[in-house]
């Protein structure tokens, strides 16, 4: 156990986590430089394109220092607030963390919240100043920030560059010297923490765990405490670049287990693995069932593809247990599914995966959070869909989820960030200067306001110099109304949104304008209206298209024109006819793109 080091990396997106991780793999000869794809740890295409790690992974490295051989387990963590629970479980599996800070950009909100998580778990923090070779680097200033934040010594901070490889050997030494080895009773009954799982289409679900006490052997009869299910450990092993089977994984080490599990829901991050014959007394603390925060309807563009969509979502759920869904129907869109997501990014990823991996063309409706409705007759229920919003005459009150939002930004953007948050019904809780130029702002805000376009706006008003993190803090009563959209007098339920009464007029006006922009002209006039109950609060008109014919089509125009019309035909497949009106796919998410 003395030779094992378990650590994770805490970093803001783009601060160079993946590149530095690649360097560690390269310098410990875990992978050859030649095999090193740009970012080894992110193996989904989607992840590589978005440059973020969606699902965490783990990898084991061997390293010899001062004549001793060490095993280093790097546990990768997702970098987005949508996946904060997974981050917390990964952190719980480590004894140390590399805190990577971009020497040009300084510390960001999400880094801080993950750092606090690491400190709560008593992790040893190794601060690393990355991208030191950038011309815009301000190493001394950022070192000040790190010293302020950690209370460490300046010389504890390791200057590094993932790009050139500078500092990588210092980091490896620090991991061995500074991070304590894992501890745990090797003789005790098996107690292992599941910190991640992946789906493999041949092997089923592969669970990743850290053995806290005891050991796990191939063929063991094991039990997952939270789900209560038991399995045979068909294969266990450690995680190199690929899976490397072993007969035993001992206390303190990180490994995987394959036991023929087909459904991701059976493997919950945070659950405990123990032996059926000799169970541990207590499960690992901190297990939570992950709850979806954002709900939206997913409908096939082509109504015939409903069953196919169901199969696709079910398959997706096999490897993404945080996705929940149930069938629903919409007057406008027919049959589809109400899905629950961890956050907006998660929602976008699901939509993209449905399109890419399952070749489904889907419409995602206006997302909303989960509300509690209390009726005057004493009944209460959860509202996950605007169409479940009760008749206002029977409504006693409706409560919406609130969050505590932490934003770190440059001092010059404090005014605009405050303006944005207050405009989003935020209440300032605290404002503190981390350094002379960096301010931390804390707001209590309705979660629903974050769901829409908050994050993009925050980035744009702060020119990218604001970072954001949030935690749910309970429910509060709010004056909410349901805003309906009608196209040529037909209500389109999929476009309805629950919104605070004070914002309804502005919102209604903007959404009508946006829809006017997105709905292509058709051979008749289209009237777009926003309404609360029977009252129309905004109106726009899409004029009828009177002609659609290219004037000139000579030698040079033919292939260009052909491509244009092919694209047009393709685009039409992504439209959904509601009543007589054809609505493009992206119009259903128009509310997310309001200015």
């Amino acid at each position: 156990m003395e030779h094992i080091r378990n650590f994770c990396i805490i970093a803001h997106i783009d601060h160079g986590k993946s590149t530095l991780a690649d360097r560690l793999l390269e310098y410990t000869n875990t992978v050859s430089k030649r095999d090193l794809q740009a970012q080894v740890l992110d193996d989904m295409d989607l992840e590589r394109e978005r440059g973020i790690t969606i699902k965490s992974h783990a990898i084991q490295m061997d390293y010899e220092l001062d004549g001793k051989r060490y095993v280093l387990n790097l546990i990768d963590t997702p970098g987005h607030v949508d996946f904060s629970y997974e981050v917390s479980r990964s952190i719980a599996a480590c004894e140390g963390a590399l805190l990577i800070v971009d020497a040009a950009q300084g510390i960001q909100a999400q880094t801080i919240s993950n750092l606090y998580l690491a400190l709560e778990n008593d992790l040893e923090i190794i601060p690393i100043l990355n991208k030191i070779d950038l011309p815009s680097a301000e190493p001394e200033l950022v070192k000040d920030q790190i010293v302020d934040l950690l209370g460490c010594k300046r010389e504890d901070i390791i200057p590094a560059s993932g790009k050139t490889g500078m500092g990588v050997f210092d980091i490896l030494r620090a991991i061995i010297d500074r991070i304590p080895h894992p501890q745990g009773d090797a003789e005790a009954p098996l107690k292992a923490l599941i910190f991640d799982s992946v789906f493999n289409s041949f092997r089923g679900i592969i669970a990743y765990y850290k053995v806290l006490e005891g050991e796990i052997r191939k063929g063991d009869h094991v039990k997952f405490v939270a789900t209560g299910a038991d399995y045979h450990a068909d294969e266990i092993g450690i995680l190199r670049l690929d899976k490397s089977p072993r007969d035993v994984v001992k206390t303190g080490d990180v490994g995987y287990i394959i036991s023929g599990i087909k459904n991701a829901r059976e493997v919950k991050v945070g659950d405990t693995i123990t032996q059926v014959g000799r169970p541990c007394l207590n499960a690992v603390a901190g297990f939570e069932d992950v709850k979806p925060m954002v709900f939206a309807g997913i409908y096939p563009v082509d109504t015939d593809e409903y069953e196919e969509l169901r199969t696709s979502i079910e398959k997706l759920q096999l490897n993404d247990a945080s996705l929940v869904f149930e069938p629903e129907s919409s007057a406008a869109l027919g049959f589809g599914f109400r899905c629950g997501f961890l956050g907006m990014l998660h929602m976008e990823i699901i939509q993209e995966r449905l399109e890419r991996e399952f070749d489904m063309t889907v419409i995602t409706t206006v997302p909303n959070v989960s509300y509690f409705a209390y009726l005057t007759n004493g009944e209460s229920f959860v509202v996950n869909n605007p169409s479940d919003f009760p008749d206002p005459s029977k409504l006693d009150r409706i409560e919406e989820p609130y969050i505590k939002a932490t934003i770190i930004t440059k001092a010059e953007f404090v005014g605009s960030v405050m303006g944005l948050c207050i405009g989003k019904r935020g209440e300032i809780v605290n404002q503190s200067y981390l350094t002379t130029d960096r301010v931390e702002l804390i707001f209590n805000m309705p979660l629903a306001e974050i769901v829409f376009d908050f994050y993009d706006k925050l980035k744009s008003i702060s020119k990218g110099y604001a970072s954001f993190d949030y935690h749910q803090i309970g429910y509060r009563a709010s004056d909410l109304v349901r805003l309906d959209i009608r196209l040529n007098s037909e209500p389109v339920d999929a476009l309805s949104a629950l919104i605070h009464r004070d914002h309804a007029y502005t919102f209604g006006k903007k959404i009508c304008e946006k829809l006017k922009e997105l709905i292509t002209r058709q051979q008749f006039e289209i009237v777009i209206q926003a309404a609360i109950g029977a009252k129309i609060i905004a109106r726009e008109t899409v004029k009828a298209l009177r002609k659609d014919v290219t004037a000139k089509c000579y030698g040079g125009d033919i292939s260009r024109k052909r491509k244009l019309l092919e694209k047009q035909k393709e685009g039409k497949k992504r439209m959904r006819q509601v009543g007589s009106v054809e609505i493009p796919q992206q119009a259903f998410l128009a509310v997310l793109k309001l200015d």
Partner: protein, 377 residues
């Protein structure tokens, strides 16, 4: 049938709506023309012996060419290609260039068809379009051309121009139909990106075109041209019997054509290629002995779509029996099936193994054409 297109990429003045390739700097004129001569020589094997039935000088402004320049190009065309004796030789011209001496020179050079960019007979429109000529020149050049012996004259008119009322359009069309012309091209204004027009509309200097009015103008044109004996034969083209543009018809009937000069497109029956849209890049290429161009070979579904697209532009319509023999019965049946709803609604006419737009269908030709396209495999 086969045609040669020569692109003369210069203009004295830029028309506000134009997005064709041209330069108002005449600096490179000599070099460009020299390289066009080289291109004519280098690509002489293009038609593989097929006789050339049309030569077309387009632009830009081909009427900027001097007699010597035109003569040299014509000489090389004749020397390097098998030009039919009765070949149609068209030159696009601006009215202000067509003085009697120039017309005489054109006739001597072998030009036997003029395509004159009149656009409008109203000076306010011409000024707003930034055209170089006056309304008077538009009229006088046509009679001068007749005097110079030209009997095959086409003029261009534009409708849908902001500020062009229905009455003004009717006047324009009536004037045109009274002239001794054989051919008329009428283009509905298209606001192309990256033109002065787009900027001026955005800046509020020119009002946004009204497409309802443009549609009305087009329908009126179709009707009055028909009664005047110059019926439409292609979406934007009208002619007296026997005077369809032979050169342009080759574009709509998948005949081969060779494009010479910057930005000119060629089609050899299999692949399409286009010269670089830059006078200097064009010159530099040929100076180093190569043709700066891009080539594209259409896949079968793309060729089917081009066949549908071009076929439907013509009044005689898409030839379904050729479609069937060239691409097979499945393709043929698919097109006919997708055409069903438009035949039922009266937008398309299915007659004698041809599919053609009705007047009503013409207004929405683009979206109907797209619907008939083959589904990607």
């Amino acid at each position: 049938m086969a045609g040669i297109y020569l692109h003369i990429p210069f203009c004295r003045k830029a028309c506000h709506y134009c997005d064709f390739h041209f330069s108002t700097s005449l600096e490179k004129r000599e070099q460009v023309l020299q390289m066009m001569q080289r291109e004519l020589e280098q690509r002489s094997g293009f038609f593989k012996g097929v006789a050339v039935s049309s030569v077309y000088f387009g632009g830009g402004t081909p009427s900027l060419l001097s007699g010597a320049e035109l003569g040299q190009l014509m000489e090389l065309v004749r020397k390097n290609y098998a030009i039919q004796n009765d070949a149609e030789v068209t030159l696009e011209a601006n009215p202000d260039d067509l003085n009697p001496e120039y017309l005489a020179m054109l006739s001597q050079s072998g030009v036997n068809r003029l395509s004159i960019g009149v656009q409008s007979f109203r000076s306010e429109d011409l000024a707003a379009m930034n055209r170089a000529h006056s309304a008077e020149q538009a009229l006088s050049c046509i009679s001068d051309a007749g005097d110079a012996g030209f009997s095959n004259i086409s003029i261009d008119l534009m409708f849908g121009w902001p500020g062009l009322s229905m009455e003004a359009w009717k006047d324009n069309v009536k004037q045109a139909l009274d002239l001794p012309i054989t051919h008329l091209s009428c283009y509905g204004l298209t606001v192309e990106e990256r033109t002065a027009l787009t900027r001026k509309i955005a800046a509020g200097e020119i009002e946004t075109p009204d497409d309802a009015l443009a549609a009305e103008q087009y329908l009126w044109l179709l009707e009055s041209a028909e009664t005047s004996g110059i019926p439409w034969y292609e979406i934007s083209n009208f002619c007296r019997e026997g005077f369809a543009s032979r050169h342009n018809t080759s574009y709509w009937t998948s005949e081969p054509y060779l494009g010479i000069g910057p930005s000119a497109h060629s089609f050899n029956g299999v692949e399409r290629s286009w010269n670089v849209s830059s006078n200097s890049a064009y010159v530099q290429g040929w100076e180093r002995g190569f043709r700066a161009a891009e080539t594209e070979t259409a896949s079968e579904p793309e060729r089917i779509n081009e066949y549908i697209l071009t076929g439907l532009r013509m009044r005689r319509g898409l030839d379904l029996s050729t479609l069937k023999s060239a691409f097979g019965p499945i393709v043929h049946d698919g097109v006919l099936k997708r055409a069903g709803e438009y035949i039922d609604s009266g937008a398309l006419l299915h007659h004698q193994s041809r599919l053609a737009f009705t007047t009503r269908g013409l207004l929405f030709a683009d979206r109907i054409t797209a619907e008939l396209f083959s589904d990607p495999v």
